[in-house]
Symmetry: C3
Subunit: 264 residues, 3 copies
Amino acid sequence: MVPVITLLTDFGTADGFVAAMKGVIATRARGAVIVDATHDIPPQDVRAGAFALLGYASYFPAGTIHVAVVDPGVGSARRAIAVEAGGRWFVGPDNGLFTGIYDREPGWRAWQLTEDRFFEHPVSATFHGRDVFAPVAAALANGVAPAELGAQIEDPVRLAWAAVRVDPERIRGEVIHVDRFGNLVTNVSRRDAGEEGLPPDVRISVAGRRIGGLMSTFAEATGVEPFALWGSAGLLEIAVAGGSAAMTLAAGRGSEVTIDFPSR
Amino acid sequence: MVPVITLLTDFGTADGFVAAMKGVIATRARGAVIVDATHDIPPQDVRAGAFALLGYASYFPAGTIHVAVVDPGVGSARRAIAVEAGGRWFVGPDNGLFTGIYDREPGWRAWQLTEDRFFEHPVSATFHGRDVFAPVAAALANGVAPAELGAQIEDPVRLAWAAVRVDPERIRGEVIHVDRFGNLVTNVSRRDAGEEGLPPDVRISVAGRRIGGLMSTFAEATGVEPFALWGSAGLLEIAVAGGSAAMTLAAGRGSEVTIDFPSR
Amino acid sequence: MVPVITLLTDFGTADGFVAAMKGVIATRARGAVIVDATHDIPPQDVRAGAFALLGYASYFPAGTIHVAVVDPGVGSARRAIAVEAGGRWFVGPDNGLFTGIYDREPGWRAWQLTEDRFFEHPVSATFHGRDVFAPVAAALANGVAPAELGAQIEDPVRLAWAAVRVDPERIRGEVIHVDRFGNLVTNVSRRDAGEEGLPPDVRISVAGRRIGGLMSTFAEATGVEPFALWGSAGLLEIAVAGGSAAMTLAAGRGSEVTIDFPSR
């Protein structure tokens, strides 16, 4: 099978950085299929990168190599790593970008990238996307075994995700992502809601403001009142019909979400 | 032949939605070539999506599968459809995105997508790009016959395009698109101008303001005065040398354009 | 080998222009791999395009065809050209986009594109990306010899790059690019700095303001003071830890950079 290599960065494309990464891959792994995941992660926003990655990683076929470079610590002592999880590869800086992958795939294994014979030389101090991560992805596409890349590690960096607190009468969570449409994605999952799901008389508040109830689809809602629905990632989202919940509620990442059950 | 699948969305790329669609296609139709058309259609702007699609669809080879997802009605009763027209496929919501295709290819045929064995499960209420349209595109790439996807329909939704009114001494049209450079694309075509084309003494007004005459190229124009020229889609465009006609004229989609022929 | 065709434009993607170019290539050179370099060059900014191209062109494999279209003179008498340099191809308008390539690869050869049997017809006056450059790139991918495309030329247009002035006690250069992170890329190269490199007591000023010294990596720096480092293109860059040097220094393309050596 032709290997697929996806790229996620916070580089934008205007500077040619992404194109240089693609050139390195095209040269070293002729035939590998390069797929742009996104280059529009907000600059240096590791959390946003980790969230986006989690939304697409498992939809790709087994053997896919996901490169992710949001790397404020480039050139520092932060490690470079390759991770095998769920039959797919992840290559990037060890700064928490893969936190969600570790959570989802308990059998993950990780290696520190130290064997510089797989790197592009000279290795710059500022652009490991081109000099370390792209060539290592190409090496994996070419069948290099991970143990050749460096020693296995057990303690990759994990982001501290906000925890959901589930009490009998209340669930407390928070907004973890705002999407392009202004929808507020929370960390409250269907599992948190319990087997019965959210009852009809549920009361939901965001950033201290009471919003409308739970809808099944965007289209069901009318009017300007924000409402909740289960989003495509299985997480509770807050939306406004034809508008932006983020603007309507002046809410964003970190805003508190409370879900009360009067009838329980 | 390896099938080509193009993607047009209003998703941007930062959230990972587009990458999830690519993953579904890469998994289900290994070997299909995925081409990004655009992900920068303004959010929920079906007209802008329809216009962009019309500009590239027919340049792709026969058999190409064009996926287009600008879908404000996702989750509602709006139909999901696949269309065959001019030897190419179109897959997306039935909301008028393919209006220009029906006009251009009178032999089009359309099918409603109801056979959910071709979908990605569970089918979310909010992301049919990933769960319906991408997997159906993959099915078509794999040679599934359209009749397997659902029943044929005769009445897909069409946008009401603005009509051009052609009188002996005057053509009245309107701006239907503003491009990245601020050029105003009108709905007036070379055919509307007649066999002789526009005469040298033609008088053109946009949003009530008289502009300069007809030029052959951008480079021919000098000065700050807006002028007209025949654009790459065969439609009359209004431009400003090295500037933005949209800003200079404070005009945009829907602005009236009148063309008078004093000598006729 | 499957040929690789890269695309650099200032078109953005929302209008469908880039997609039309891809369609032309997909139709005429089935099997060629199309790689998006960037479509986010600032509109009509030939210098920015030339700079970006220089950052990735040589990372691609021999035989790659780099198409670059930033073309304010489209439709004028400006020539259309194909250039062979360093085993790779460059196709675009003759307006200086390839200046850096001529400098880097002294053995370059260039041909004017006049044989319109290789073009897409009708050739529009405003969109040579689709009608001239994309089909010519496809022709090269199909093995057409450059001499078939038109006559060889010896005098392609070159941009006047800002020169670096190296004196015994001072180097004077300027900012030639501001990247997405706000880093100021200067035209001062490691070669300008001499074999010993920059000494520890070097004094660097940007736009008349003294900044901090030379760091090895972004991560080494702390605080809000701008500092210098050697960037991934081998050029001196000015950066601010976790911030934008362009904003901190109110500097941009053309800002003066001076490097003084008190101890020399």
